[in-house]
Subunit: 196 residues, 2 copies
Amino acid sequence: MPVPKGSTIDPERTRAAILEAATPILYERGLDGVGVAELCARIGVSKETLYRHFGTKDGLVAAMLEARSERVTRWLADAAATAGDDPRGQVAAVFEALEGWYGDPVFRGCAMLNAAAQHHVETVRAITARHLDRYLRLLTGIAERAGAADPHLLGRQLLVLVEGATVVAAHHDPAGAAGHARDAALTLLSAATRAD
Amino acid sequence: MPVPKGSTIDPERTRAAILEAATPILYERGLDGVGVAELCARIGVSKETLYRHFGTKDGLVAAMLEARSERVTRWLADAAATAGDDPRGQVAAVFEALEGWYGDPVFRGCAMLNAAAQHHVETVRAITARHLDRYLRLLTGIAERAGAADPHLLGRQLLVLVEGATVVAAHHDPAGAAGHARDAALTLLSAATRAD
DNA sequence: TCGAGATCGTACCGATCGGTTCGATCTCTG
DNA sequence: CAGAGATCGAACCGATCGGTACGATCTCGA
């Protein structure tokens, strides 16, 4: 019973439970692919409760995208951290983590990019842009610590590779995209560090 | 008067006119962002005519995506061809053509990727996959003629860069994405040809 | 000139959508 | 025990959606 009925038990827990349960459903079916009524039914919550916590369907969508962006970025940063201080190892770890994600049967591409492609609302586009900013910060940090000649350029190149790999994996080659992108990233890293 | 009323005048011309007029509208607003009624009003055609030619809204969408995929691939191939036999010039030409596209105020990312993110219908996903196949053939051809050690690998890496640049341009950095991807592509090309 | 066929404009259909409302029910606190 | 507040479930609302039907109009070939 993830969402109890009491009053003062957990004003906040209900919201978190809704968010957690709604995320995979909206990701799998698409933002417009599932109505609020069905969503509530599958979550096990009434429409009134959902609307009291999020005000609107877009409010729920924004909250879940924001949470997902933070979560996936942290996950990727953790993956890089497992490689210790080795820059090449960190880059390889990022793409190997992505490879695992691409192989997941529920993988449907980047949730933020999908959302931005569907919902032309400004708030969603802003969340997507912020998400790419988070990725860029992470990748630029790796490039800096690797001693790249131009870490900002390498960071942006890595961002293109990460996003490109995700797109290609989602729509063309789930098995190979991460490996090809990783090889490219390591080549770019070598070129960027050989020059200094 | 793009859509005359007569009977035997042009059974096929009407269909082409609908397709041409509907494409930019569906691209700008999204497949689900504009209803059939409004679409017909803006095209200047009746719903009956549209449905007789395409059967269903999905039919229209599929026809327009297929046409757009062929058209944009041909456009990119032409851009590469302007660089003559120089492989580096061909790669650079591809990304500079993309840069011009990204700068277009109506640029909204890749129409096929957007469509696949919205419409979870199998036919749309198939068209998107075929589209990436077209891109891959084009890029692998360039890699082969450049004498890359592993042209299939380089082709797939270039595909990741092209798609990644398009995504980043659409959602984060319209001005810089193409340039960064081009630099990365030329670095990969150098590495792939230096080895042999 | 006449009829076949393409098109128009509009009305219409059933379904679904996001969102609201309300009475009943439950749980905790005072 | 009493009441405040959160939740439920179901009904309800207006809008919009994709798709169909129909009579009127137009253009062509025979």
